[in-house]
Structure formats: C-alpha cells, structure tokens
C-alpha cells in the first residue's frame, strides 16, 4: 500500500530540516541575546509585561483548542489527525517563527517583506518599537502564537482527506510565503500599515488569509468520498463545545492582548470581543430557531466563533454599539455562507472559509465602518463616523489579501501536490486518517 512506502520522503524531509538548522547554527554568532536582562529595562512596565505574557499563553492555548473544536466535528476515524494538525503546527510554526518567521515579518525590509537580519531572534533582546513597554521577547512570543494558529485555521477545509506529509509541507511553505509577508504588510511596517489600514488583532492577516486559502484548497482537493450522500456529522459535540469555550477564553489574549499593554484600550478590546461573541452566538441560535425551529449547540458554538472572528480586526477601534452590530451581521453572513456551500457542493469540511474567510472579510470591512477615535485616538474614524476614506482603505486591503492568499495557495498546492502529494488514496480515506496516516485509533474499549 502506498502509505507504507513513503520512508524516503520522510528521510528527505528530516535531512532538509536538519541541514538548514545546523547550517544556520554555525553561521550565527552566539551573541544573539546580548544583555537580554539589562538594556533599557527602565522603560519596561511589569504590568504590561505580565499582560502580554499571559496573552501569549492564552493565544497558545487557542491552537490546540481549535484542534478540539475541529476534532469534534469530524468523524471518529479522523479525530486524531484533525487535532494533530493543530498541535503539530503549534510545534512546527513555533520553530519556524523563531528561526525565520519573526524576521521575515518584523525586521526592517521593504514594503512587502522583512529581511533576514533578525533570524534566530537576533536583536530581540531589546523592545520592539511597536511595544516599547515590554521585553522584546514577549512581543516575539505573542506574535509567534498568531503565526501558529493561522495555518491551523485552514485545516478545517481539508480535514478528513489530506496526507500528513503534504499537510506539513504545505503549511510550512504557506506560513513562510503567505502569512509572514501579510503580517509584515499589516504590522511590520509594510504596505497596509503605510496605507493606514486598521487591523487591530488580525482580520486580514489571520482570518482572511487562512479563510481564502481554505476555500482554494477545498476546491483543489475535491470533496470527501461520499460527500453529499453519506452524512458527515460531528462525532463528538462535547469536544466541539469544549474547543469553542477554550477558543473564546483564549481570544481575550488574542484581541485584548493586541493592545500590547494592560490599559483602557485592552479593557475596551476585551469588552467588544466578549460582546460580539455573545451577540453572534445569540443571533446564530435565533437564525436556527427560525429556519428549523431548534437552536443547537453546534450553532451556538459556530456563532460565537463567527463573532470572535469578525470583531478581531475591530476590537480596539469600535465601541459597544459597533461590537453589537458586528456580531449580529457576522452570524448573518456566516450562517448563509455555510448554506451556500451546500448549494454549490464544494466540500469545505468544517467551514473554514464560511467562518474565517467570510467572517474575517466582514470584520475588516466593518472596522472601516464603525472605527472611532473616541475609542482609540491612535486609530481612525470609519465611514459612520464621517471618514469614508477609511472604508476604501479597508476595501483595498481586503481585496489584496484575498487575491494574494488565493494565488499563492494555488501555486503552493500545485508544488506540494506534484512533489509530496496532497490527497490520500481512496482506501486510506475509507480507513480514516488516524489509522492510515498515524497508525493510531482515538478510542478503545
């Protein structure tokens, strides 16, 4: 069987990784941390540092939480592979980030990408200019967790039918060539930042980029065998609810942590985040009650996540009214996006596009509508506060992000599919990815 013969591929992969790691280790002087603990420590705020470190831990938790959320939604035979996709990316991207990702995203470069001068965290001993009151490494790690969860979000679209090897290669390439650049555009001094785009915690860079890539992958990979005929129904909704709850919990770090300090702005982001999630969960339940007479737990969880996605770019720029409206509309659009999928019969298994792509787009645009300098004087006003220009800027970033993510995913899919392979064989799919890709079963009596 094919999956018993891939040793050589693994070997190559291990070799390549080892080679580059060792190579870089030799090149690097060991002075990368010169004087971490001294330096300009007088400007460091212990309160801000405590908050950002906690936030980084909270965001870290989101990646495995996403694994549980997704893992509960697949069929039993694929649950481990789905959870592992998130868990593994937490590990893989954590390494990618400290070696090269942080540098590509944040080190000085051009409008489109940073350089390699901060590879291996060289120079991260001093505070990053965008977070002057916290140690440089706190900022690095906070951002690291964002990089880890973003490709994991995509995994909702190709669940239950992707090769593990193909998944690993694709995700590493995608993070390096899609996430890191867009992160540079938005927060690393790149083109979006220069255009004055507002994205507080990652509407474009996290949710849109992953959501549109997810759509492309779902289309390129094709549907699961039996899709549309056999029911493909969550195998454990308690896992889904646990995952969604931990996501909600972790999202406070994601959004309020993006204030990069423990201050009124963080409190505002905390409030808008919670409010939008709550409103969206209620809205989704209402829609279900209207459509099929019953609110469901999967619906409540989906709604909450949709609201959290949509408020992400806006949370530090909008007030309570903005948060409520963003939450309501988030559920309206995502709920219908998911129904569309059933109509057009593409198989975005766990609705990564329906929730992150659509929700992220709405959030990015809504920031251009509801942003107000009353909330954040370093932000800008949106359309409803008399500044239509901001909405235009947001529109442009939305279009650019969607386009870039789509095109790059097409290219990367093609490359990985031709070299390592992306889709499992029909037999492996029937047996399930847990057994065929990992030689394990989740549950046993």
């Amino acid at each position: 069987m094919k999956f018993f013969n891939s040793k050589s591929n693994y070997l190559k992969w291990i070799w390549n990784i080892s080679y580059s790691v060792i190579g870089l280790l030799i090149l690097l002087p060991n002075t990368s941390f010169a004087q971490t603990t001294s330096g300009a420590s007088s400007t460091i705020s212990s309160g801000d540092t405590a908050w950002v470190l906690v936030s980084a831990a909270l965001v870290m938790l989101m990646t495995p939480a996403l694994g549980l959320f997704y893992g509960g939604m697949v069929r039993q035979k694929n649950v481990l592979s789905t959870i592992l996709q998130s868990f593994f990316l937490l590990a893989a991207i954590s390494v990618q980030w400290v070696i090269i990702g942080y540098s590509l995203a944040f080190s000085p470069g051009n409008d489109f990408i940073g350089g390699l001068s901060w590879a291996f965290l060289r120079g991260a001993g001093v505070p990053n200019p965008s977070a002057p009151t916290i140690p440089g490494l706190a900022f690095v790690m906070f951002q690291c967790m964002f990089a880890a969860i973003t490709p994991a979000l995509i995994s909702g679209s190709f669940a239950e039918r992707i090769q593990f090897k193909g998944f690993v290669f694709f995700s590493l390439l995608w993070t390096t060539l899609v996430y890191d650049p867009i992160c540079h555009w938005v927060w690393g001094g790149g083109i979006f930042e220069k255009m004055g785009a507002l994205d507080f915690a990652g509407g474009t860079v996290v949710h849109m980029s992953s959501g549109f890539s997810a759509l492309v992958l779902a289309l390129l990979l094709g549907s699961r065998i039996g899709y549309g005929k056999n029911p493909m129904i969550p195998h454990d909704l308690t896992l889904v609810l646990t995952g969604a709850s931990l996501l909600w919990f972790g999202w406070f770090g994601f959004n309020a942590g993006s204030a990069l300090g423990a201050n009124a702005l963080a409190a505002n982001a905390f409030m808008t985040t919670n409010t939008a999630a709550a409103v969206a969960a209620l809205t989704w339940c209402c829609l279900e009650a209207l459509h099929k007479d019953k609110a469901s737990s999967l619906g409540a969880a989906s709604g909450a996540v949709a609201g959290l996605v949509a408020i992400t770019p806006a949370c530090g720029y909008v007030d309570i009214v903005g948060a409520i409206l963003i939450g309501i509309v988030a559920s309206l659009v995502c709920y219908n996006a998911i129904l569309l999928k059933l109509r057009f019969k593409y198989d975005d298994s766990l609705d990564a596009f329906g929730i992150h792509g659509i929700g992220g787009t709405w959030g990015a645009l809504a920031t251009g509508l509801f942003a107000t300098q009353w909330v954040n004087s370093h932000g800008n006003n949106g359309l409803f506060y008399g500044n239509p220009h901001q909405f235009l800027v947001q529109l442009k970033t939305v279009a650019a992000t969607a386009l870039y993510a789509t095109v790059m995913t097409l290219i990367l899919f093609w490359i990985v599919d031709k070299t390592v392979g992306m889709r499992v064989s029909a037999k492996e799919e029937e047996i399930g990815l847990d057994l065929s890709q990992h030689g394990e079963e989740a549950y046993r009596y």
Partner: protein, 112 residues
C-alpha cells in the same frame, strides 16, 4: 435452548433485569444498539446537513431452557410495556448448545 433477544428503551433496562432475575436467570448480556421500528427518529441538523436519527436502544440477550421461553417473554412484556410506540420487540431463536468456559460443562447445565 433458545436465545431471547429483546430490543428495548434504555430507560426500561433496570425493570427488565429485575424481571429476568425473578424468573431465575442470572446470566444476561446487554448491548447498546440503535434502531427504529414503527417509532421513527427525529430529524437532526448540523450546519444545514440533515439526517434522520436512529434511536438509542438496548439489546438484552439471554439464553434459556426451552421450557422457560414463554415465562420469560411474559415477564418481559409485563415489566416494560407502556403501550406506547417504541416499547420494543422480542425475537426468539434456536441455540444448539452452550458451553461454560470455566468448567467445560455443555448444554443446559451451562446456562444457570
């Protein structure tokens, strides 16, 4: 010997176990199944995907001497009948022999 299989509501399990014990059988096997008969499931819906659910049922299975068959059936019916759809079904089928692994005893001796 006969094998008596009853497919019942989960909530009726305790009463059934007691009824069978009273007739004098301690050997009983229970398994979790799903099914439908006249009683149909309910429509479930997951993000727009709809399916009709099967209902959770308990299959209880006891092998008895031929002469006890009608006693057991009567006892089961009495214990769990509510008169509502979903009360369950009983199937009786032949068993050629039984073996108690511990002792190697065969036939009806192995049952009790």
């Amino acid at each position: 010997m006969k094998k008596i299989e009853a497919i019942i509501r989960p909530s009726a399990l305790q009463r059934l176990l007691e009824a069978i014990k009273i007739v004098g059988y301690s050997g009983i096997t229970v398994m979790e199944v799903q099914g439908h008969g006249k009683q149909r499931g309910i429509t479930e819906s997951y993000r727009g995907q709809k399916i009709e659910s099967l209902l959770s049922k308990i299959l209880i299975y006891v092998v008895v001497r031929d002469k006890d068959v009608s006693k057991i059936i009567k006892a089961i019916c009495q214990a769990i009948r509510t008169g509502e759809i979903g009360d369950g079904k009983i199937f009786v089928s032949p068993v050629v022999t039984a073996v108690r692994v511990r002792t190697g005893e065969k036939g009806e001796k192995a049952l009790l």
